[in-house]
Symmetry: C2
Subunit: 381 residues, 2 copies
Amino acid sequence: MENFTIYNPTTLHFGKDVLANLGLILKEYGSKVLLVYGKGSVKSSGLYDQVKGYLEQDGLEVFEYGGIKSNPVIEDVDGAAEVGRKNQVDMILAVGGGSVIDSAKIISVTIPVTHTGWDFFSGKARAVKAVPLVAVLTLAATGSEMNPFAVVSNHALGQKAAFGSPLTFPKHSFLDPRLTISVPRDYTAYGIADLIAHCFEAWFGNGEASLSDRFVISIVKEAMEFGPLLLNDLTNYDLRARIMFAATMALNGTTMYGRSSGDWGVHSAGHILSLLYDVPHGASLTIVYPAWMRHFKAQIPGRIAELGTRLFDTPLTADQSIDRIENFFLSIGCPVRLSGMNISATSPQAIIDGMVSNKVNGAALKFGEGEYEALVGRFYQ
Amino acid sequence: MENFTIYNPTTLHFGKDVLANLGLILKEYGSKVLLVYGKGSVKSSGLYDQVKGYLEQDGLEVFEYGGIKSNPVIEDVDGAAEVGRKNQVDMILAVGGGSVIDSAKIISVTIPVTHTGWDFFSGKARAVKAVPLVAVLTLAATGSEMNPFAVVSNHALGQKAAFGSPLTFPKHSFLDPRLTISVPRDYTAYGIADLIAHCFEAWFGNGEASLSDRFVISIVKEAMEFGPLLLNDLTNYDLRARIMFAATMALNGTTMYGRSSGDWGVHSAGHILSLLYDVPHGASLTIVYPAWMRHFKAQIPGRIAELGTRLFDTPLTADQSIDRIENFFLSIGCPVRLSGMNISATSPQAIIDGMVSNKVNGAALKFGEGEYEALVGRFYQ
């Protein structure tokens, strides 16, 4: 077990009608709110009106930035920060999925300074102050509601990068599973895949941590048991709740205590597919994970075999584990090759070039010279 | 799944040499420290001198209250609060096990007011302000280092009661597993039993929560796998670390999300044994749990059977589950009857009277009229 610190200051409000307390909690931070949200669904679902109703009822003054994209881009971060800065907002309310909350984290550290949002990713700026951030979650997937991490794309530079600081945890997050009931089947599946992939990144990270391993297995089993049931019963509150909570626990620290790091090589590679072809994040991960495990199988056969053995409660080899995991992804309608997203006609070289320029790699398992080609080849086979 | 809130503001520093940052962190809260500790071992182990060295090196002024008992009493809380109040301390540093940290929590809310410590247990006082509390843990057992709960005895009233408030979380807790290496075999086992019992209280509580159930099983399995190894290898850092971390996770909220409450009937009954005969807390729980499960077996046969089945990875009936759990407690040297603590000559009536006056009960499983007699009878059989 490695030394570690547990620090997670987010207060999470989970369940039916938790939004009723939203205005009361926001008022603790002042009176001027920057409301940040995505494209379309927040307005069409009525959530936008509901949230504005709560804010106005509690006398809060609302400024807005809408239109955050599902693979969020840095231009929106800077645009929203400008609105927040100009109006001297006291807090940010992010209403949406991981892309909106991730963007809001960078907006929160950009508003108080003269830097651009990308300066935090490039290392030019350090987070020293943040506008308080509160989140209302509408998609079970990234875990952004209870962690400090943000991933944003910069298409001008051809990069998709991650940032996190102790200042970028949401102060409060509101999770009403009913807000996820309108998420369509495919994105529901991508969310399930995303939470499983977060657990796998911990599993394949650095450091031996037996209890955190048990938590990984617990969360993935929860997703594998209730995920398929949910996909056949999309409006079931109880199943939505179980998956929503599993997604939070998959990336709020619980899988990481006693490890020095996760691996994150699969996320690093998946980001290239999203950057180039706007592949949904969860779908990029189900394409990369089987390929990644086959690529590194010779280096960590025992670890892959143990993962499958414990997940499926039967002794499996590394090969069998990979096949079973791949089949699970397929069974919930996730792609495991580029052809599954109808983008098989792409050039492997464009992906390889993106990997080179983004320095795609994991913290535990490293790609050597020329290995991107072998990995990317598996996205097509 | 019931609605729930996750809120745990404690920063936990876990591993070798984490105490080196102690003074630096305490200085955030001011300059005057009330150092609270127990009887004997903190001084004989050298930890007292080490901690004072860190504090003096960072220019902190230290006031002291030592001698907290292992089943802590309210007189010490009031005595320590008086020292803190008189010297207008800025913070409390608790160095010890659960009894010291529990006491320090009540001290922290008593110092700022004119109430006595017991007023918080009796409901006469509400916690509205607390002196910041930092803990250095020396015993893996109660989980007090990362929760708001405190249990203290009032012998004048014949009561042992629990209190908790959002204000009584430690701000920081320092867990260096090496500080537990000198804990003798019996108390090491009682700590393992205590953490398992905390998980069981969650398991038998109100509300169905599948992921929290998986966490319960994970933590108990961790304790059942590494606990016996540790008891044969008491100076092994890695095993100490695994048990210490499991004890923290057993009562920091992780087992409770989605439940409306734990049961806590076994703790409630165990407190009577500690109150009357100074039975160590963990030992009181291993006496009560088999009796409690046999008592309520007819009401919750499936839940008891499922617990054993999942813990031992083999299909078990409720009776078989209870036998296996009882045998596990015996195998680590914990008592499962009063005779195991050499107190079988006690009067059942004294215990029953204590249960009546303390209104012993659980939140989920309730004792009816005359049922204490049946339960207590099982402590002897």
